[in-house]
């Protein structure tokens, strides 16, 4: 896709609800280009607009519909939820098949068949993914059964069509007709063979049919090669055949097929350097075949053979790494070498992978190998060299394994001692050490490590960076602790830096430290003088302006503390143009900086200037909050991929809209972001900020009007956003933050009870139970939050909340199990010798376990009744006996437990015992609880219920 098309595509992105507005000439061709460029959603939008446009020809509409299937299938492939993806693809396949019925043979039918083949492949992959994730054998069998049916139908349809096409081809009247039919046959026959292969993957390993379908696949690929052996697809098919033969256990033949596919290269000229002049398409096919060969040989423990196959590929294919499976081949070779015991060579390949794909999945896998395989490898021979140790250290630091990282750094230094690399490795390793310590908050150790880099290895490439970090770290220590010792240390190192590295880009900022120390001493005016000394022509001007503005804001805060509001306001006013000037200058520097470290520094300062400016605007209230939106409108473009900054921008935008009373607009913007980039990391923090803002606004509204329906709607919206804010943690895409999950979970629990109309004091089902849930999805989401907390080993209260949610949802068995697991971990009765007495220590530290104990009994009771499980009912009785023994008589919980005890007796058919118990309560209390806890009505209801089963004492039984 060319840049112009890209721009058109981007311009099309915010489609504004006027489909015709995006149409012009050659729209189908335009949509195809969009689709080929990966803008599937935009392609589908254009196609939909064509179909909806009444003025289009039938031909054009059919073309658009066919292309829309292609685009839709690609879109569906991006859906993370496999079940949703499967349903969507099934729908596409059904609609495409229905359209196919109406089309006569010809180019349109061919294109539709191609689209169908693509969708079928995606469908098969989805089903396979579902099968791999399915642990329930019954469900897996059901998926297989459904899949088998779908594939058999698709294969039959293709067979019929191939036969019809073959017959039509034998009767073709013109060359053009014959050629068109031939092309159709190529696509259909290849698709059919591949369909058989995909079908075989979906069948169980021990299913006899699997072997039959694999044979069908082999035969179909053979037929294809017989008819179209010169096609690139024929070589691609040979790789599939190799996979079929591997599955059938015919190992030698499998390798022959892979080799046949690789032999494609021999049809091209060989250069002097031993490389075949293969075009990209052919390289893709060869890379796939080599990959399968390497994986196959490794699975047979022929590690040397696997590695040799990869070496041969690298040696003979130009730009091998750009082929579709080029990096996958290298990755497979790395594993083969490591698994074969040659860790040293494996490490070298790993390092190559990291260089080729530093941020991608292959680089990540290589880093994983570097950090998980012992350095000595299976042979204990050669450890990875110092470069590799540094890679290992970097990866370990990212994983938080700092002790191992320090050991790797020390090893790197030892290995590089007396070598030409010693200075670079030494400085880089101590820099890494320092970064690891800084991450742990061990600033002094960080200082020592940075100093070591600069003092022991001053000529190392990373030494200036390390010394700069040392200055900053000592300066930070001074700003925090105000000890002249640290200021002196920073000054000494500044002098060292200026002398040793005068041309370093950071040298321009040396003078600014004086201002920072003045700020730390609250010497605002002198700080301002220091920053003002930096002329506009200096490289440090942007930073100086930013720091000057920032210093004035701190001064204003100090003046606020002294109740000098007018002076404070004047300072803030003075700060704004400085921050603006700083932002502009820093962003210009950021755009032209080539050194990534320098650029990162400018980016951090420039964004900090924006944040400070936004803060000033927000302090101005609704009047200036509108400026925040404008200030931050291009953050996503200026800081692409920097999720922390984008999330901060969203937080500020929401705050601004909240101040302006435009929370609806904030919701709309956030939903737009979710629709456009559902996985954006900024969504969580932004949704959380917005949810809290809505919650606050709803509270304000309700305090003015307790029956406000708008407040209710706002809370519903808040609940949706709260759930959205923690979704990545709940789905395992982000590590769980227990505090955030806990806060959100509890707030949602309270909101859900409000939505269900529960009285204020309700905590669990023993207080109140809904007849039917109004927000079942929300309850599911709350359950998932507490489930995630429980899985993360959070405190006992998460178990209680999870069990309560399950009880409200009527999942009584789940609820009872959750309580049982909780009390297994936190037993209330620890001393068997003490009988039923609850453990006083535990009660003191975790008093809410008592209510949970009674709730457990209720869950057992309800689960027992639902499943006619006598053991469960008996367990409920036992729990209630113990609870009542410990509870304060006539307290709220005692009455709940007592009513539940009698109810359980009734449920167990122990009518006489229930009757005696109830009478005993009646006799020993004054009108039960007098209606205080709602127990009186409950007891009277139980009494009525009992009357149906027990004869009054003064009545004789009927004869």
């Amino acid at each position: 896709m060319g840049p112009i098309l890209l721009l058109i595509g981007l311009a099309l992105a915010p489609a504004d609800g006027h489909p015709a507005a995006i149409l012009g000439r050659d729209d189908v061709a335009f949509a195809r280009k969009l689709n080929d460029a990966g803008f599937h959603d935009l392609a589908r939008q254009v196609c939909d607009a064509i179909v909806a446009d009444g003025s289009r020809s039938a031909d054009e509409i059919v073309d658009a519909k066919i292309l829309a299937f292609d685009a839709e299938a690609a879109e569906a492939g991006d859906l993370p939820d496999l079940s949703a993806r499967k349903d969507r693809l099934q729908d596409i396949l059904d609609r495409a098949a229905a359209l196919a019925e109406t089309l006569p043979p010809g180019p349109k039918a061919d294109r539709l068949n191609e689209a169908l083949a693509g969708a079928q492949q995606a469908f098969a992959e989805t089903l396979l993914g579902m099968l791999q994730k399915q642990s329930d054998p019954a469900l897996a069998a059901s998926i297989r059964k459904d899949a088998d049916k779908i594939f058999v139908t698709a294969e039959d349809n293709l067979t019929k069509r191939i036969e019809a096409t073959q017959e039509a081809a034998s009767n073709a009247q013109t060359d053009a007709q014959a050629e068109a039919l031939d092309r159709k046959l190529i696509v259909d026959m290849y698709s059919q063979a591949r369909l058989y292969f995909l079908h075989s993957l979906l069948l169980a390993a021990d299913d006899v049919k699997r072997r039959l379908v694999l044979r069908q696949a082999l035969d179909a690929f053979n037929d294809f090669q017989f008819s179209y052996g010169r096609e690139l697809l024929a070589f691609d098919g040979a790789t599939y055949q190799g996979l079929c033969l591997k599955e059938l256990g015919e190992d030698d033949k499998a390798v022959e097929k892979f080799d046949y596919a690789i032999s494609l290269r021999e049809g091209f000229d060989k250069d002097a350097d031993g490389k075949y002049a293969v075009p990209q398409d052919a390289a893709d096919v060869i890379s796939s075949a080599v990959l399968q060969k390497v994986l196959f040989l490794e699975s047979k423990k022929d590690f040397a053979g696997a590695s040799a196959a990869a070496d041969d590929y690298v040696a003979t294919i130009p730009n091998w790494e750009r082929a579709s499976q080029g990096l996958a081949v290298l990755d497979a070779q790395m594993h083969a070498l490591v698994d074969g015991g040659d860790a040293a060579s494996g490490f070298k390949v790993a390092q190559q992978l990291i260089e080729l794909d530093p941020q991608g999945p292959w680089g990540a896998d290589a880093k994983q190998v570097l950090t998980s395989v012992p350095a000595g490898g299976a042979s204990g021979v050669a450890r990875g060299g110092p470069d590799i140790q540094l890679q290992i250290a970097g990866t370990l630091i990212a994983k938080g394994e700092n002790a191992r990282a320090h050991a790797a750094c020390a090893l790197a230094r030892k290995q590089s001692r007396n070598t030409p690399q010693a200075a670079d490795i030494g400085a880089a390793s101590f820099l890494l050490d320092g970064q690891a310590y800084a991450r742990e908050g061990r600033d002094m150790e960080a200082c020592v490590a940075y100093d070591a880099a600069a003092n022991l290895y001053p000529t190392g490439a990373k030494a200036p960076d390390a010394l700069w970090r040392s200055i900053n770290a000592y300066s930070d220590l001074y700003e925090t602790e105000k000890r002249p010792y640290f200021k002196k240390a920073a000054q000494d190192r500044l002098a060292q830096f200026a002398k040793a590295y005068p041309k370093n880009p950071n040298a321009v900022s040396v003078s600014l430290f004086e201002g920072q120390w003045d700020e730390a001493d609250r010497n605002w005016d002198h700080a301002a003088q220091v920053y003002a000394r930096v002329p506009a022509s200096s490289e440090a001007y942007g930073e100086a302006q930013y720091r000057a503005g920032s210093s004035l804001i701190k001064k204003a805060a100090a003046l606020d503390d002294d109740k000098k509001t007018a002076d404070a306001e004047a300072c803030r006013k003075q700060a704004r143009p400085m921050l603006e000037a700083g932002r502009v200058a820093l962003e210009k520097q950021m755009d032209v900086a080539l050194d990534p470290d320098v650029r990162a520094r400018y980016m951090a300062l420039a964004f900090a200037a924006r944040v400070k400016l936004a803060g000033l605007m927000l302090m101005g209230g609704a009047a200036s909050a509108g400026d925040v939106t404008k200030l931050l409108e291009d953050v996503e473009q200026r800081y692409p991929g920097d999720e922390d900054k984008i999330a901060e921008a969203w937080r500020l935008r929401i705050k601004a809209l909240e101040l302006q009373g435009k929370l609806d607009e904030a919701v709309e913007k956030l939903d737009g972001l979710v629709a456009k980039s559902p996985d954006a990391a900024a969504i969580g923090p932004a949704a959380g900020s917005l949810a809290r803002a809505l919650d606050r606004a709803a509270n304000d509204l309700q305090s003015k009007d307790p029956k406000s329906s708008k407040a209710h709607d706002m809370r519903l919206e808040a609940a949706r956003l709260y759930a959205l804010s923690v979704r990545p943690q709940v789905t395992g895409k982000a590590p769980p933050n227990a505090t955030e999950l806990n806060d959100v979970g509890k707030r949602l629990f309270a909101l859900a009870l409000t939505f269900e109309g529960a009285p204020d004091e309700v905590e669990s089902v023993i207080d109140w139970a809904p007849t039917r849930l109004g927000q079942p999805e929300l309850w599911d989401q709350i359950g998932s939050i507490f489930q995630a907390l429980v899985a993360a080993g959070s405190g006992y209260q998460s178990d209680i909340y999870l069990a309560r949610v399950q009880a409200f949802e009527g999942k009584w068995r789940d609820s009872a199990t959750t309580y049982a697991r909780l009390f297994d971990r936190e037993p209330l009765i620890t001393d068997v010798g003490a009988g039923k007495r609850f453990d006083a220590q535990r009660l003191k530290s975790k008093p809410d376990l008592v209510a949970a104990f009674v709730e457990w009994a209720m869950s057992e009771n309800m689960a027992g009744k639902a499943a006619d499980d006598k053991q469960s009912l008996s367990r409920a009785s036992d729990l209630l006996d113990k609870a009542l023994f410990n509870l304060d008589k006539n307290g709220k919980l005692w009455w709940r437990a007592k009513a539940l005890q009698i109810q359980t007796m009734l449920d167990r058919g122990m009518y006489d015992v229930a009757d005696i118990t109830l009478r005993d309560v009646e006799r020993n209390t004054q009108d039960f609880d007098g209606g205080k806890y709602g127990a009186k009505a409950r007891m009277l209801a139980l009494k009525d219920e009992l009357a149906k089963h027990v004869l009054p004492a003064n009545k004789a039984p009927p004869k």
Partner: protein, 369 residues
């Protein structure tokens, strides 16, 4: 060759590849056979051949018909062909799986037909593991065996020192002297070892608080013909320690400062920084001088950050540095007036103590913390 290409040809099924890649990850390890012993040298190059012996002076490598002796300062790593069991045990050791390594080396030690080269390595690893796992008797037995079986072997220096240090650590000065006498007898004809023996003599005298004699022994060791840089630095360090015992820190400090500017072995440098830490901590604590205490703190941190021991190396100075930094933080907390800063320093102190306890639960430096 004309190859027709189509769009469909680019659509390659990714899933089987991914699933096969998973299979690939599960394949078991297989030890690699190499044809020769290899020696990785400090300059990154490799020499291969037959390692005939590993002696105190260096490694003898037979390359074809020639035999060359490579001094230990030039050797980074060695690999012995066909020694899968040893390599596996060593791998467990390097990877920090000490219990596995202990069991593996015990099995190797029990083998009667062991190549001397491997036997020496096995005993050395057993001794080190014994010390690391808090089994001093096992360590001592292994060091003794190493001394007896390989009286001029690669690990003579470290074995002799460990045996002496063990006795000194237990305040068994007579035992240390007896051990020294044994070592002296065993190595009496081995001139290369004499300077090292001089340092050990100084250590025993130092332990007995005979600081004047100890200083003389250290001076003699440093002046001895053939004394290596390491021996000279160790002797200077010993002398500084004696001066500190004589309550002359002002004389010890310049010696220690002299050591830390040299390219001395890591453990000597770590010990020198710790010595500087001790001197400054003592002075800072007496004078209630926070800056002096910070000087002490940064000296200890030099030792724990800059001169980290590698697996198999003595961790004594590292442990001492952690304990020293914990003490410095605690003293700084005492001097600090602001409650939140006081808490911060106390927390930093606790953090280092916890680290020492976690990493070295049997550390002698935990006493009094």
């Amino acid at each position: 060759m004309m190859v027709e290409t189509r769009r469909a040809a680019r659509k390659w099924l990714a899933l089987p590849v991914a699933s096969l890649a998973l299979v690939a990850l599960a394949a078991p390890l297989r030890a690699q056979e190499t044809a020769k012993d290899t020696v990785t040298l400090m300059d990154g190059t490799t020499a291969s051949g037959l390692i005939q012996s590993e002696d105190f002076a260096g490694l003898s490598l037979k390359e074809g018909a020639k035999v060359r002796v490579i001094p230990w300062k030039d050797v980074r790593d060695t690999n012995y062909r066909g020694q899968d069991a040893y390599n596996s045990a060593r791998e467990a050791f390097v990877a920090g799986r000490y219990q596995d390594a202990e069991a593996d080396f015990a099995k190797l030690a029990a083998e009667s037909k062991q190549k001397p080269l491997i036997r020496q390595q096995v005993l050395y690893h057993q001794a080190v593991l014994g010390e690391m796992l808090g089994k001093p008797a096992d360590a001592s037995a292994a060091w003794h065996d190493l001394m007896t079986e390989f009286p001029q072997g690669r690990y003579l220096g470290v074995a002799a020192e460990s045996l002496i240090v063990e006795k000194l650590g237990a305040k068994d000065f007579a035992g240390a002297a007896a051990e020294l006498a044994k070592i002296e007898t065993a190595t009496k004809d081995f001139a290369d070892f004499r300077p090292s023996l001089g340092v050990l003599k100084g250590m025993v005298l130092e332990g007995q608080n005979k600081t004047a004699d100890a200083k003389a022994a250290y001076d003699a060791a440093a002046m001895a013909a053939g004394a290596s840089t390491e021996v000279k630095a160790a002797a200077a360090l010993g002398k500084a320690r004696c001066l500190m015992l004589d309550k002359k820190p002002e004389e010890a400090e310049p010696i220690l400062r002299g050591i830390v500017t040299q390219d001395a072995p890591v453990r000597v440098l770590a010990a020198a920084w710790n010595g500087l830490g001790d001197i400054n901590m003592d002075a800072g604590n007496k004078a209630k001088d926070a800056d002096k205490l910070l000087d002490a703190l940064f000296a200890y941190l030099r030792s724990s950050v800059q001169y980290l021991p590698l697996p198999g190396e003595s961790s004594r100075e590292y442990e001492r540095a952690l304990a020293g930094s914990a003490r410095c933080f605690a003293y700084l907390a005492v001097l600090e007036q602001k409650p939140e800063r006081k808490d911060q320093y106390n927390n930093r102190s606790k953090q280092r103590i916890e680290q020492l306890r976690r990493e070295y639960p049997d550390s002698e430096f935990l006493t009094g913390l």
